[in-house]
Chain length 350, copies 2
């Protein structure tokens, strides 16, 4: 008997059916710059008008083993927002406006409803970020993923006027370091968090986490906040005063804040000024995980750090809060000497 591509495990029709559903989800994310439906091979997007020397800003990321929690809980409509957040929150750190996003969704055997739920989350994330879901790839890879599992990769492109680019050179000693609250773990440290909750504590995915009033699934699947709108409003309110923006991901505050500080500068932070989300306390106590390891693994409740000129502190906090974020003064930029290792440039008073 002659064999066909479909018998080899790839169903092109099912892929086409998902594409139709994705089109419906992507349509509301369109921004005026999108060149609609021209060509079939690539996504097309013009630049916002009025830019003198536009710099394209791109970021790519995945969701990591947070996906494993989504699989276990059979909840697939939140990780898409995480995916967009991880990419877009990188792009905005140079002061860029996100323009468009593309996703890569790979699975062993395509389940239409799962694929649609994932892309629904991606489209939601794009709306929150103000960028268009411009394209994507759905890959059916028989035998490469376990049943019910998938991987996700995201790509975001934004644009910034070259003269307004936050290039990591602007911060000075005495600048104020503001923290913008995270919604929880965001998308980092899940291998450790899962080990503590599911192995050390022996919780099931739908068990309530003692002291949290939420199940493990609920606590671990809170979507990553997207700071695009907050940063836009911040830059509109105090454009010249913003000296640096750091997206707090793997590596935590010590691993990410120095990336936007010039050589020889560090920061002194006081983590007692805000309430650390309870999930981090649970992980630290039940692991146990030492505070230094917590700090270099998790965001600990701070998803974005804003470095501003001291005179703009109040206006910056107002702008961030006006955009719906919780924001607080974490500390200040200090001289640390050029010979201090990267990971020691952030010091903690508490």
């Amino acid at each position: 008997m002659p064999i066909t591509y479909s018998q080899a495990g790839v169903d092109i029709d099912r892929g086409d059916a998902l594409v139709e559903r994705i089109k419906k989800l992507a349509r509301p994310t369109r921004i005026p710059e999108v060149v609609a439906d021209v060509g079939g091979f690539a996504g097309l997007c013009a630049l916002p008008s009025g830019l003198v020397d536009p710099i394209l800003v791109s970021g790519t990321d995945g969701v990591g083993t947070k996906l494993k929690v989504a699989f276990a809980a059979n909840v697939h409509d939140t990780v898409g927002q995480d995916l967009v957040a991880m990419c877009v929150n990188d792009v905005i750190t140079v002061g860029a406006r996100p323009l468009f996003f593309l996703d890569y969704f790979a699975t062993g055997t395509l389940e239409l409803d799962v694929g649609e739920a994932v892309v629904r989350g991606i489209a939601e994330g794009c709306k929150l970020a103000g960028c268009a879901l411009l394209g994507g790839e759905t890959a059916e890879l028989p035998g490469m993923y376990a049943a019910g599992e998938y991987d996700l990769a995201g790509f975001a492109v934004g644009v910034v006027e070259r003269a307004k680019m936050l290039d990591g050179t602007k911060a000075r000693a005495g600048d104020v370091v503001l923290g913008v609250a995270s919604s929880g773990l965001h998308s980092n440290g899940y291998s450790l968090a899962r080990k503590v909750l599911f192995e050390r504590m022996g919780l099931g995915i739908h068990d309530e986490v003692p002291g949290l009033g939420r199940t493990a699934a609920e606590a671990l699947l809170v979507p990553t906040r997207i700071y695009a709108r907050a940063v836009r409003e911040l830059l509109a309110a105090v454009p010249a005063a913003v000296r640096g923006l750091s997206h707090i991901t793997g590596g935590g505050l010590p691993g990410n804040l120095p990336r936007v500080l010039p050589e020889g500068l560090g920061a002194r932070l006081d983590l007692s000024v805000y309430e650390r989300p309870a999930i981090f306390r649970v992980i630290a106590e039940q692991g146990p995980v030492e505070e230094a390891e917590m700090r270099r693994t998790f965001n600990l409740g701070v998803g974005l750090v804003v470095v501003v000129a001291p005179e703009a502190e109040a206006a910056a906090l107002d702008a961030l809060r006006g955009a719906g974020e919780q924001a607080f003064r974490l500390g200040e930029v200090v001289e640390v000497g050029a010979d201090v290792p990267f990971e020691d440039r952030v010091r903690f008073d508490r």
Copy 2:
């Protein structure tokens, strides 16, 4: 005992070591537009000068189960070129010049040498495409990939002047359809190809394929050709005469050529004008796989289709051949009527 992130299966230092190797590989791909090493979170690239109304063109893709062949053969330095090719060959179909590329590399436990080999292939692909390897993500996802396996996603961005965009509306009846030779399977149809070679024929990965004079690994891992340079030279030679460009991927000629033809138009092709690569004959005979299924699954030796005005046929062929490609006249654009289903718009004389 307190536990650490590393004990949970994620080794940040190993990831950092790979990043250092990647930086060395990426450096030679830089183009003048890249804004070097500014910011740490995102890749930055200016636009080429002189564009009046630049349109950004983006494409994302993976390599599919061609990866499975790379795993079995333990050859990891060719799939990177496939990844770049799959994305860049989409981007150039609208007449765009590729600017930059980002990759997502996900694996269970990071093996430095494997990761480096993969990225070496990606960097090679970027050089062939004339675009910069601007960034990427290396994800270590314990438990999500089998030992020695990984997945890859790529993302390319190019730019085209809006007035010069190939938007799928330009072709007319009587236009000439040119084929540009593929190097073999490229990156499509591997689930079927593997089924035939490894299951039906019972070949081992390093066994010689009867009649090919090459092993299965060699025949299946030929890298996908990258047509960026050929298209650049084509557009320089006969800019106004190019009416459409189609990247022949999954779906073959019937699934891809109509994507760049206006409604009501199709094509008449004669596949006997060029020598079909022997690997396709082996798959068809040994599957067996019927010719119609071959045509809608594989590129059958044609990786790119160029639609040109009839008077430009010779000059277009010269330009493509001058860029190092094999190119031939496949047929012509014909009226098919508006009610003809998509997949029947391409007809085959032979």
